[in-house]
C-alpha cells in the first residue's frame, strides 16, 4: 500500500449508499424554482398564438395596461427594445442563421408561440390582463407535416431561408456499400417511423430573475441543466458583463434533456426584471409546457438492408428525415449523431446515410434522453425483420452479426473502435435468462387458447463517453474544484447540475472514499455560477467525467493535505494516515489532528487547501446492453401487457447500484410510455396542437410499468482508475425497439410488419385488421 491509499475500512463506491438529497425531498424542504419567493416579486405570463402559422397584422396591449396590478406589458417589438442591440435569435445552433424576435412580432410559427407578456403583482392578475390583449392574425398555410415542408408551393416558415428544408439532403458513405449490396442475397426494406413525443419532467420550466438596480447585477434562480450555459446566454441577450450575472439553481424537478438551453421566456423574464428593477417570476404551466417547451423525435428512416440467406447483414442504406419543428436548433444537426451510431455493435461492411431536416409549425426539437436513439430503434427493428424473412430466431441473427470482441476488437464501419463493447455478453446473458425454446413452446400453446404472447429483444451500445480512440482522440474535459475548508468539510465544486441523478450522493461517495473521510464530511456544491466550473449535466457523461474528476481531485487534495499536515506535525508524509476525519502518524492516534484544525492552520499561514484538476475521461468505454420483453397483446382491445421485462446492462463499475437501477428503470418506463401511450399530436391539416393536457398526452403510471429485472455485467475495465460509465439514457434508447419487437412477435399470426414506434391500442387493432386504418 502506498501512502496515498486509504485503508479498506471506508469504501463507499459500489454501495447503495442512501441519498443525501432525500432528507430534503422527502420532507418538503427542497428548493425548486417556484419555491423562490422574494420581496416585491412580480409575476409574468405570456400570451400565445392559437394558430400554427400566421402573420400578426396588429396587436393592441393598451387595455391590458389598465388592469390594476399590472406593471408592464410588452409585445414582440417593445420586448426587443429590452434586449442588447447585438442579441442574436436564441437557441439556434444548427442551420443557417434565421431572423426572429424573442417574442413573435411579424409572424407566429407554432401554436403556443409567445406574442406578448404581462408582468403583474400576481399570476392571476397577469393572466386576466392577457385576455385583454387584442391580436389580429392573418393565417398562412400551415407546415404541419414533413410532406408540407417539402412542398415548395407552401410558404417558408423563415422567409430568409427560402425553404422549409434546413439541412441536407446530405449523403455520407462508410465502408464498401456497393460491395455489400452486390454480395447480398436479398434486400430487406422498411420505412421506420418514430413519432413525436417529449420529455415532460414533472416540474415545468421556470425562472425568477432578480435585478438589483443599485449594483446593476442580475441574480437568476433557474431550472437549468447547467448554470454556466444560462449565464452565457443571458450575458449575450442582455448585453451585461459576465461578472454582473449570477445564475443559481436549487433542486430541479426533472428535465431529460429539455432544460439544457435557456428558453425565450426565461430570457424575457430576465430582461423584464432588469427593465422594471424588481424580481420577476415566470413559471410555465403544463399546457404551455406540452405545447411549446420542446418536443423530440418525429423521424422517418427509409432503410434498405443488404442481407445474405444465412442472416448476415452486410450493409445498410438509410435515408432519414427529422421534423425539427419551428425555430430549429439541435434537430438540424441530429443526422451526424444517428449516422455515427447506426452500426451499433454489429460488423457492417458498408453504410450509406442520407440526412435531411425540415422546419414545421410545431414545437422545437429538443434533446430527449438519447437524442440519437432512432439508430437503435431502426437497426434493431431491421434485425427482427431480417430474422422473420429468413425464418430465423432474432437472437441468432444478432449472434451472427455482433462484431468480434476480444483482444483485437472490431470497429464500427463509421470508424469508432468497439473496444469494451459487451453486446455479445449481454445478449448471451439474456439467452440464458429467458430459455427461448421453452418460451416458444408456451407461446404456441397460448395461441391455441387465443392468447398472443410475444418475445422481443434489442441490443445497443452507448458512447457514455465511449472508448478513447487508439492513439488518442478526445473525450472532452470535465472541470472540478475541491477544497478542504476551515470547518473540516471537503467541498466538491462540480459543473454537473443534477436534476434527479443523485450527484450529491454519488460524487461524495467517490470523493469520500478517495480522500478517506466519512460521507458526511464531503459536501457537493452545485448550481451557483459564482462557485462551480462551466459545464452541464447531459449525454450520460457524468459517471465517467464527473466521477473521474471527483476521483482525481480527491486524490490530489489528499496529497496536498498530507503534505500540509506533514509540515504542521513535522512528520513524514509516508507515515501519515487519515482516520475518522483526523490526520495523524500511523500508530500514534493521540497525535492526530482534526482536518478542520489542519485547514484553519493552513489558511492562517496563507495556504489554500484547494485543487482544481480537469479529468480527460481516461480510457473511457462503451455503455450498453440488451433488453428483453415478454408481452401479451389482447387482440380484442389492443392492449399490451408486459409480463416480464429484463435488462442486462453494462455501465462499467457501479458507483451506487440503487442509483443505477433507478436510472435504468426510469428510462425503460419512458420507453414504455413512448410505445404504448405518449404522442405529441398535431392536426395534420391545420397544425393545431392536440395534446395540451395530461388527458391527451398520456404518461405511464404504476399500472403500466412492470417490475424491471435488472442485471449488471460490470466487465472490461479499460482504465486503471475510472471505469464508471454513463447509464442515464440507455434504458430509453433501447426499450422502444425491445417492446415493438415483442409486440410484432406476439402478432405474428396476423403477419403484421411493425414499422412505427407508437402502438397504442387503436393502432394495434388497425394493424391486425380489426379496425380500418
Amino acid at each position: 500500500m502506498t501512502a496515498t491509499q486509504q485503508p479498506m475500512a471506508q469504501r463507499f463506491v459500489g454501495e447503495s449508499v442512501k441519498r443525501s438529497e432525500d432528507k430534503r425531498i422527502l420532507t418538503g424542504t427542497g428548493n425548486y424554482v417556484d419555491d423562490v419567493q422574494l420581496p416585491g416579486m412580480l409575476h409574468a405570463a405570456f400570451l400565445r398564438s392559437p394558430f400554427a402559422h400566421a402573420h400578426i397584422t396588429s396587436i393592441d396591449v393598451s387595455a391590458a395596461r389598465q388592469v390594476e396590478g399590472v406593471v408592464a406589458v410588452h409585445d414582440g417589438a417593445s420586448m426587443q427594445g429590452l434586449l442588447a442591440e447585438t442579441a442574436q435569435p436564441p437557441g439556434i445552433f444548427g442551420p443557417a442563421p434565421v431572423k426572429f424576435t424573442l417574442l413573435a412580432s411579424d409572424k407566429v410559427r407554432l401554436v403556443g408561440d409567445p406574442v406578448a407578456v404581462v408582468v403583474a403583482t400576481s399570476r392571476y392578475i397577469a393572466e386576466d390582463a392577457l385576455q385583454l390583449i387584442d391580436v389580429e392574425y392573418d393565417e398562412l398555410p400551415p407546415i404541419a407535416t414533413v410532406e408540407h415542408a417539402l412542398d415548395e408551393s407552401r410558404p417558408a416558415i423563415f422567409e430568409d431561408l427560402g425553404s422549409n428544408v434546413v439541412t441536407g439532403p446530405r449523403t455520407n458513405t462508410h465502408g464498401d456499400v456497393d460491395g455489400a449490396f452486390a454480395r447480398a442475397d436479398r434486400i430487406v426494406t422498411a420505412n421506420i417511423k418514430v413519432h413525436r413525443h417529449q420529455n415532460v419532467p414533472m416540474e415545468c420550466r421556470g425562472v425568477v430573475a432578480d435585478f438589483d438596480t443599485d449594483s446593476q447585477t442580475l441574480t437568476i434562480h433557474g431550472s437549468n441543466q447547467g448554470v454556466g450555459i444560462a449565464k452565457m446566454v443571458l450575458t449575450g441577450q442582455l448585453g451585461m458583463p459576465p461578472d454582473t450575472i449570477r445564475v443559481l439553481c436549487g433542486d430541479i424537478g426533472g428535465s431529460f434533456g429539455l432544460k439544457i438551453g435557456t428558453g425565450r421566456e426565461e430570457i424575457a423574464t430576465a430582461a423584464l426584471s432588469k427593465a422594471i428593477g424588481r424580481p420577476v417570476k415566470w413559471i410555465e404551466d403544463r399546457n404551455e409546457h406540452l405545447a411549446f417547451s420542446g418536443q423530440a423525435r418525429e423521424e422517418t428512416l427509409d432503410v434498405e438492408a443488404a442481407v445474405t440467406n444465412e442472416g448476415d447483414i452486410l450493409g445498410l442504406k438509410v435515408s432519414m428525415i427529422v421534423d425539427t419543428g419551428a425555430y430549429p436548433g439541435m434537430g438540424a444537426m441530429l443526422g451526424g449523431m444517428v449516422e455515427n451510431m447506426m452500426p451499433g455493435p454489429y460488423s457492417l461492411e458498408g453504410l450509406e446515410f442520407t440526412f435531411r431536416a425540415v422546419t414545421t409549425n410545431k414545437a422545437t426539437y429538443v434533446a430527449y434522453r438519447g437524442p440519437w436513439a432512432s439508430e437503435t430503434f431502426c437497426r434493431e427493428r431491421i434485425v427482427d425483420m431480417v430474422a422473420k424473412e429468413l425464418g430465423m430466431e432474432p437472437l441468432e441473427v444478432r449472434r451472427r452479426n455482433i462484431a468480434f470482441q476480444g483482444d483485437n476488437p472490431g470497429k464500427m464501419v463509421t470508424g469508432r473502435t468497439l473496444k469494451s463493447a459487451t453486446a455479445r455478453e449481454s445478449l448471451e446473458k439474456i439467452a440464458e435468462l429467458v430459455d427461448l425454446p421453452s418460451f416458444r413452446k408456451r407461446q404456441a400453446e397460448a395461441r391455441q387458447q387465443g392468447k398472443h404472447l410475444g418475445i422481443g429483444m434489442a441490443t445497443y451500445i452507448e458512447a457514455a463517453p465511449g472508448p478513447r480512440a487508439d492513439g488518442g482522440g478526445g473525450l472532452g474535459n470535465e472541470a472540478m474544484r475541491m477544497r478542504l475548508d476551515d470547518d473540516g468539510i471537503v467541498r466538491v465544486f462540480t459543473a454537473q447540475m443534477p436534476h434527479g441523478q443523485s450527484h450529491e450522493t454519488t460524487l461524495a461517495q467517490i470523493a469520500a472514499e478517495e480522500f478517506g473521510v466519512p460521507m458526511e464530511m464531503v459536501k457537493v456544491v452545485v448550481g451557483d455560477s459564482d462557485q462551480v466550473p462551466f459545464g452541464f449535466t447531459g449525454g450520460s457523461r457524468s459517471a465517467t467525467m464527473a466521477g473521474g474528476a471527483a476521483l482525481v481531485n480527491a486524490r490530489a487534495l489528499r496529497e496536498k493535505v498530507l503534505e500540509e499536515t506533514a509540515n504542521q506535525l513535522e512528520a513524514a508524509v509516508e507515515d501519515l494516515e487519515i482516520v475518522d476525519g483526523k490526520v495523524g502518524v500511523r500508530g500514534v492516534p493521540a497525535k492526530a489532528k482534526a482536518l478542520a484544525e489542519i485547514a484553519t492552520t493552513a489558511t492562517a499561514a496563507g495556504t489554500a487547501l484547494e485543487v482544481s484538476q480537469a479529468f480527460d475521461g481516461g480510457q473511457g468505454g462503451w455503455s450498453g446492453g440488451t433488453h428483453c420483453a415478454i408481452v401479451e397483446v389482447d387482440v380484442e382491445t389492443g392492449l399490451v401487457d408486459i409480463e416480464r421485462y429484463i435488462v442486462v446492462e453494462d455501465c462499467g463499475k457501479l458507483i451506487n447500484p440503487a442509483v443505477v437501477d433507478g436510472q435504468v428503470r426510469g428510462g425503460v418506463a419512458q420507453g414504455i410510455g413512448a410505445v404504448l401511450l405518449e404522442k405529441s399530436a398535431y392536426d395534420p391539416d391545420s397544425g393545431q396542437f392536440l395534446a395540451g393536457t395530461f388527458m391527451d398526452y398520456l404518461l405511464p403510471t404504476t399500472t403500466e410499468v412492470p417490475r424491471i429485472e435488472t442485471h449488471h455485467l460490470e466487465t472490461v475495465p479499460l482504465d486503471p482508475d475510472v471505469n464508471f460509465r454513463g447509464v442515464g439514457e440507455g434504458g430509453m434508447v433501447v426499450s422502444p425497439a425491445t417492446l415493438c419487437n415483442a409486440i410484432e412477435d406476439a402478432l405474428s399470426p396476423f403477419a403484421v410488419k411493425i414499422e412505427e414506434q407508437h402502438l397504442p391500442p387503436l393502432r394495434i387493432l388497425e394493424l391486425i385488421g380489426a379496425l380500418d386504418d
Binding site: 442512501k18 420532507t27 418538503g28 419555491d35 414533472m202 431529460f256 403544463r286 403510471t701
Partner: protein, 152 residues
C-alpha cells in the same frame, strides 16, 4: 373572504382570500408551505395531493375558500429532515424517488392509503398510486418503499 383552517395541527387564518385562489396556491403563497408542488394544475398528475379531513385531495382542484374550517395535512407535517417518520425512512432506504418533484403528492397519497389500509398488497398499492405520475423512477422503487414501510 376569510379562511380559517388547521394545517399540520396548527390553526391558520387568512383574510381577503380571493375566492378563485386554489388551495395549492394558498398553501404555497399565503402560508409559505412550498413543499406541496404543482405538476399539471388540472388534476391528473397528483403532485399537489394533500390530506383534507382525512382524504387525499388534489389541492389544484380545490379552492382555498372551500377548505375553510378543514383540517389539512401536507408534506411538511410528516417529519423533518432530522426526524423523518417511518414511511419517509423506508422511502429513503428504497431510493424511492429521484428528482423529488412528484414526491410530496406520492407521500400524502401513501399516507392516506396506509391510514385506511395499514397492510396493502402490491396490487393495492399500485392501484392507489395510479393517479400519481412520476417521470423519473418507473415506480418500482416507490412501491418497494411502501411495501418496506408496511413490513411486507
Amino acid at each position: 373572504m376569510n379562511v380559517e383552517l388547521t394545517v399540520n395541527g396548527e390553526a391558520r387564518s387568512a383574510h381577503d382570500v380571493e375566492p378563485r385562489k386554489t388551495l395549492a396556491d394558498f398553501l404555497r403563497e399565503d402560508l409559505g408551505l412550498t413543499g406541496t408542488h404543482l405538476g399539471c394544475e388540472h388534476g391528473v398528475c397528483g403532485a399537489c395531493t394533500v390530506i383534507v379531513d382525512g382524504d387525499a385531495v388534489r389541492s389544484c382542484l380545490m379552492l382555498a375558500v372551500q377548505a375553510n374550517r378543514a383540517e389539512i395535512r401536507t408534506i411538511e407535517g410528516l417529519g423533518t429532515p432530522d426526524d423523518m417518520n417511518p414511511l419517509q425512512e423506508s422511502m429513503r432506504d428504497s431510493h424511492a424517488f429521484q428528482c423529488g418533484f412528484c414526491t410530496p403528492g406520492f407521500m400524502m397519497q401513501i399516507t392516506a392509503l396506509l391510514e385506511e389500509n395499514p397492510s396493502p398488497t402490491e396490487d393495492e398499492v399500485r392501484e392507489t398510486l395510479s393517479g400519481n405520475i412520476c417521470r423519473c423512477t418507473g415506480y418500482e422503487s416507490i412501491i418497494n418503499g411502501v411495501l418496506k414501510a408496511v413490513g411486507a
